[in-house]
Symmetry: C2
Subunit: 327 residues, 2 copies
């Protein structure tokens, strides 16, 4: 099972359903703005997780399709708001909503996608009890996403502990993956133990994915990742590698030097290379990679509860892919 | 039954519950920001509507309290976002969130209140089927609120038809009132016919309330309303009185003069008085008052389905109060 192929296939299959829930209503500018991100495609990993979980527990995948759409709308709602907050002007080559339209339209398009997602959940063709459970997971995720984004903003250019960093990425990245997996399992009619296991799988996978992303940001090939190695260092992003380095650099002057480069927006290429080499020598880059691997192993171990099958295979492949990629 | 007294009583009773659902979590600045508007009090008309509807259908009011809190959170979420979009710096004497904290915190505090409202709805102690119905009404209302706010922005300084204006205030004001009434009735265990009647009551009441507000903006005593008579005229707000005037002014030069003053931010007091007198002569101010009265009469007529009692009395009194106030 090739994870990327599975993702491409489900992304294509979702093209129709994703266009089904936002009808032509007034005002047209708001409706258009709300449609832009979901219609544009992308990897659609979260809805793929919903469908895979429903299939992996032996459920009827077609009943999970509306939930997959709802989860993607929620992801898109947070992107629209975050792009405005972060001042980003481009996403996937498109002009972001607050630039292409205006700021109020971006806020409202986000709010509207959020509302639409819960409208879809209210209509899920699953037993009422399961619908209520889905609602619990998804609302908790959205609450946590807001907390994670605020923590991320609060952490900017600060040295925070590994614990705080992990909690931030858990809230920003993992919780919606986890809600997608748990929700898909519930839509597929899974028992509580299986739902919980898939929730834990996706939570750990989200962490592994983000930690490996940070690893690629420092150790990856900029020609492939499209991200300059200096990006995270100049922004002072307090990844697990950075906090590891700060804990493990023995020489006080080296530590001082490292902290001086970190978060310095004007750091030269030489300084960035020096910071990277300090992290390398402290074993911090290897530590980051190792931690990502541990999270992914933890994720995969949760899948023992599932019977064999293509959806389980995808979930394993996706986890392996998270730490075996160059971009 | 004095509507204001009932509102003050329920607002006080809601003080505790409103503080019950947002625990001390990280990050503290987001949690504080999310608490500010709901904790600050105010009329709390929407949650009062939830409780009155639950009581009026003979239900257990205590089971509707969490929904009342959820509806107030949703109202507050829209206020936080709208205050930012409208550039308002004060609300009820407090500094608004995007000013007191910052813009991202205001966006996220709104999103968080929205998520929390649906978390509360997921836990409602009512039959699953009723919970699902509540979810339908409330999600539709939030979707409509976003459309209404966008339409309101689109309408600024434009002459729109009475139909468009009424649709805008229906979306901006009535839909959440209507969801509150329908939701309260569902939490109280009402049958579908009663739920629908209370939904229609609150929808018409919301229109009557807003149309009378516009009437007070032109015909009210500024010393009491706290709003200069020129406010709406200088902003070019296209109320039902304004569209009535445009339809009914016979003399082309008077019409020209009226349109010249409307939406002129620098209009003098004399010009504002002239515009008002033109509307008066065209019968437009009386028309606005009459239309508000008709909406309220329509609202009250929907309550025939209810058995007599203090909650029904409040709902009638609230409707009468909507068009019998000076502020």
């Amino acid at each position: 099972m090739d994870a990327k192929e599975y993702l491409m296939k489900t992304s294509r299959e979702l093209d129709g359903p994703i266009r089904r829930y936002i009808g032509d209503e007034e005002p047209a500018n708001l409706i258009e703005a709300a449609r832009q991100y979901p219609y544009a495609g992308g990897k659609r990993m979260r809805p793929a997780m919903v469908l895979a979980a429903a299939g992996a527990v032996g459920g009827d995948i077609s009943k999970a399709v509306p939930l997959a759409v709802a989860v993607e709308y929620i992801h898109n709602f947070t992107l629209v708001h975050d792009d405005f907050m972060d001042g980003d002007e481009k996403r996937r080559g498109m002009t972001t909503i607050h630039v292409a339209y205006d700021v109020p339209t971006a806020i409202l398009a986000g709010d509207a996608l959020f509302a639409k997602a819960f409208q879809i959940i209210a209509e899920l063709d699953v037993p009422d009890r399961n619908m209520r459970e889905v609602l619990r997971y998804v609302t908790q995720a959205v609450w946590d996403l807001a907390r994670g984004q605020e923590m991320d903003i609060n952490n900017e250019r600060k040295i925070v502990s590994e614990e705080v960093y992990i909690e931030t990425i858990r809230l920003k990245t993992s919780v919606l993956f986890a809600a997608a997996a748990a929700g898909g399992a519930l839509a597929g009619g899974a028992d509580d133990r299986t739902v919980k296991a898939l929730h834990e799988y996706a939570m750990a996978l989200g962490l592994g994915f983000q930690i490996f992303d940070d690893y690629l940001g420092v150790a990856g090939d900029p020609a492939k990742t499209g991200k300059s190695v200096g990006n995270d260092i100049r922004k002072g992003k307090c990844t697990v590698m950075v906090t590891h380095a700060i804990r493990n650099i023995k020489d006080p002057r080296t530590l001082e030097e490292f902290k001086g480069i970190l978060g310095n927006a004007d750091a030269t290429e030489e300084q960035v290379a020096r910071a990277r080499s300090i992290m390398e020598n402290a074993g911090s880059i290897a530590y980051g990679r190792q931690l990502a691997k541990e999270k992914v192993d933890e994720a995969v171990s949760k899948l023992d509860i599932l019977a064999p099958g293509e959806h389980k295979d995808f979930m394993i492949a996706l986890a392996r892919y998270a730490i075996d990629r160059e971009v």
